[in-house]
Structure formats: C-alpha cells, structure tokens
C-alpha cells in the first residue's frame, strides 16, 4: 500500500510537548484529583486496544467463514453471536455487529460520514485515513474513485453497496476468498486478510507465488 500523505496529516510524534499533550495531561490530573479516573482501568483499556484487539481478530473471523460454511451462515445471520464463538465479545460499547458478504456481483464498503463509527471489537481502532474528512466525504459519492486510490479496480458491472454507519450497528465486510488459496490452512488464510479488505476499500490479494497458477486458471475459466 503506497503511503500517500496529505499535507495536513503529517504526524508529529517526535514533537516534545504539543498543545494537545499539555491539555490531556491537565485534564487527566484534574479528573484524577476529583476521583473520577481509575488509572488501572485506563491502563487495561489501552493495553486491550493497543495490543490485543485489532484487525487480526477480524481476519480470523473471515478465514473461519471461508473454511466453515455453517459458521459463515451463522455469521451472516447473527454476527455478534458468531464472533463471540471465536472469543471476541462485542466489546464494552455493546454494539451489534453485521457482516456484509462480498461476491463477484456485489461489493460492500463501509464509512461513517458523520464521525468515525467503526467495528472496534473485530478491527481495533480505525486508521487515520478512515477518520479523515477526505474519506468520509467521498466514500458515499465516489466509492469507485476511492477504491482506485487504494489500488483496487472494481468492474463496472459489479454493484457497489456503500454502508454509512450512522447508528449503533457496526459493519464488517467479508471479502471474497481469493483464487489460488484453495490449499491454504485457516491460519494461512487469516494471514492474507487485510484491514482494508474488511472495510471494503480493497480486495484480498491471492497468496504470493501462486499468481501464475491463478492466471492460468482464469485463462481457462474465460474460455468456458
């Protein structure tokens, strides 16, 4: 994925003490002195979202759905419960999860135009681009253009369904299983699945080293 920084989004993590950093410190100290902060709880929360919950959770859900048809069926009818089977509770926010299946005819893509609603429990915290005004503005009116920017070309005859996540439900995209992945294990499949594919701005690429065999296969398919 090409890094494509926008002028206003340069990261400033090496700045010594930004205005925001000073403000957060002040806020934390005032609230602690009022007994409104639970430092241990804060540390656990940070640890959860920094180290334990992230796109690997979602990738495991996707891989399981690719290899286990009964699970996939449960996932599409009640994702909150199905994901819980894998040990991923819906998270403290208590939102319901809905899984959207991509097929050769329908491609789903998720955005939140009003803020940055995102399925934390299966993808962790959203990347900067998902929260950017540029993505929020364009995903609903120009999804094909947005996907092109991410390097994904969607055929004109494929229907694109954009989901503007504006309420208490959260969406996870179940990408298409790539060609050439037939021999892979569930764990190997999970390795292929990217965060961007589970938001819907990209597809899952075929496993490396099999591009040739895949090409051959598709050439055959096109003659059928």
């Amino acid at each position: 994925m090409a890094a494509n920084h926008h002028e206003h989004d340069h990261h400033r993590h090496d700045e010594p003490e930004s205005d925001a950093a000073i403000r957060v410190k002040a806020l934390e100290s005032i609230l602690t002195s009022k007994g409104l902060m639970d430092t241990a709880a804060l540390d656990m929360l940070v640890d959860t979202y920094e180290n334990r919950v992230g796109p690997r959770n979602g990738a495991r859900v996707v891989a399981r759905a690719w290899v286990d048809f009964a699970f996939k069926k449960r996932l599409l009818s009640d994702a909150t419960a199905a994901v819980n089977e894998l040990g991923f509770p819906p998270g403290p926010e208590g939102f319901n999860l809905i899984v959207l299946e991509n097929t050769s005819k329908v491609h789903n893509l998720v955005v939140c135009t009003l803020c940055s609603c995102y399925p934390w429990s299966v993808l962790g915290l959203p990347p900067v681009w998902y929260k950017s005004p540029a993505y929020r503005a364009r995903a609903v009116s120009d999804p094909r253009g947005v996907m092109r920017e991410f390097g994904a070309e969607i055929d004109d005859d494929v229907e694109i369904r954009v989901w503007d996540s504006s309420a208490e439900v959260r969406y996870l995209v179940l990408p298409e299983r790539p060609a050439g992945s037939e021999a892979l294990s569930e764990e190997e499949l999970a390795e292929l699945v990217t965060r961007d594919a589970m938001i819907g701005v990209a597809k899952v690429n075929p496993p490396q080293g099999t591009a040739k065999s895949r090409k051959r296969r598709s050439r055959v398919a096109s003659r059928v």
Binding site: L27, F95, C115, R136
Partner: protein
C-alpha cells in the same frame, strides 16, 4: 445540526491520507486521551451522543485542520466545563477553546449510554424490510444522525436493526425515546442525480423518526425492493 462534520458528498478535501504500518496511537497523549474519553463514557459522565455533538460543536474553522484525538481533547474539555464538572479556572495557563453553544445540558446523563438492544419489547416497528420511505427534510440546530445528503431522498428499508434511543434527544438531555432503527438503501442516482452509476447505492442506519412512508420507487437499475443485505 448542519455542521462541518456532515461531510458526505463534499468535494475538495484532497487525497485520502494513508500511512504504511500505522501505529494504533501516534503519540502518548493520544493513547491517554483515548483512555480518558472511554473512561468518561463508561462512568456516564457524559453520553456518547453528547460527546459526538460536542465534537460537532468545535468551531468549523478549526474542525478540518484538527487531528482526530485533538477533537476529543477539545470536545471532552468543553463538555466537562459545560456540565460544571471542571471549572475553566482549573485549566489556567491553557488558552480557552469554546464549543459552539447548543441547547442547555446540565449534570450527568441519566440515560443508558449503550443501545437498548433488540429486547425492547412492545415497541412495534412502523416499517418493514422492503418498505419504501422518504428521509425527512429536517434541519435541526441540535444533534441528529440523519446526514444532509440523504434528506428528502427516497429509499427502501433493507433491515430492521432493533430498538435504540433517539440521539437527537439523548444529546440534549432529553431522555430515552426508544424506537426502531433501519438500514435504508438509497440508489446513488437518487442521492447524487442522473450522472451517478446505476450500480451504486448507499445504505444508512436511520431512526424511525427520520423516516416517512413513500410510494412508487425504483432503488437501482437491478432491484426494485432491495430486500436482504448481502
């Protein structure tokens, strides 16, 4: 609120800023602010709807230039001051940042922050999947989750998501107005006009209060009633 946050369909915001191997947080203060915000929500010092509305009330000339967690800092601080939980004087040394005014909110929210869930029995849905609706043309000064680009537009219910509290009330201390939320599908051509692709649609989660019944409508070139969600 027809605010700067309501970005759907806007032009001119530049390329989408992408970063390879992006960390979860870009600085320690972001990490602390995230935890702080979550803690304030869990402790029900303020509700998620109040917090979202506080972010919407950041002055528009600042909003687009701020990083995500900078918005959290400004919104949380403003809200804590408005609720009387911290005093502006306690922040001395820091330049004041005022949120835009809104309807009065005082004290802690007495509504449950999380969803009411599907269990909210007795609340009957007004619409069914397949039903044709129009998103109302409303322009409230307060918080709403009905984006401007969908207002006045015709769509089809594709899913009943269950019963939830209306954010327009919760954000202003108005208590729980429990009602069904629907995934409503709008053809891209309905939203953006005849130049849009006939094979694109946008599905938006909308509270029942945002909708009224409609008739005689095609959602896109293919399907006339858009039932199902896959």
């Amino acid at each position: 609120m027809n605010g700067i946050h309501d970005l759907g369909g806007m032009h001119g915001l530049g390329p989408i800023p992408r970063e390879e191997n992006e960390p979860v947080f870009h600085a320690d203060w972001e990490r602390r602010m995230y935890a702080l915000g979550r803690q304030l929500l869990s402790a029900r010092i303020f509700s998620l709807d109040e917090f979202r509305h506080a972010i919407e009330r950041i002055p528009p000339s600042m909003y687009l230039g701020l990083r995500y967690y900078e918005k959290w800092v400004i919104a949380a601080t403003g809200l804590l001051i408005e609720k009387g939980i911290i005093k502006p004087a306690e922040l001395k040394g820091l330049a004041p940042i005022k949120l835009n005014p809104t309807f009065t909110v005082g004290g802690r929210p007495n509504e449950p922050i999380s969803a009411l869930g599907h269990g909210a029995a007795g609340i009957r849905p007004r619409f069914k999947p397949g039903g044709k609706v129009i998103a109302k043309n409303v322009n409230p000064a307060g918080h709403t989750r009905l984006p401007r680009y969908a207002r006045g537009k015709r769509g089809v219910i594709v899913l009943d998501e269950g019963v939830f509290a209306l954010p327009d009330a919760v954000a202003h201390g108005g208590g729980v107005i429990a009602q069904h939320v629907y995934a409503v599908r709008f053809a891209a051509r309905e939203l953006w006009g005849g130049e849009a692709s006939p094979r694109e649609s946008v599905t938006i989660d909308l509270w029942e209060a945002y909708l009224e019944p409609a008739k005689g409508l095609r959602v896109n070139g293919r399907s006339r009633n858009g039932s199902g969600r896959s």
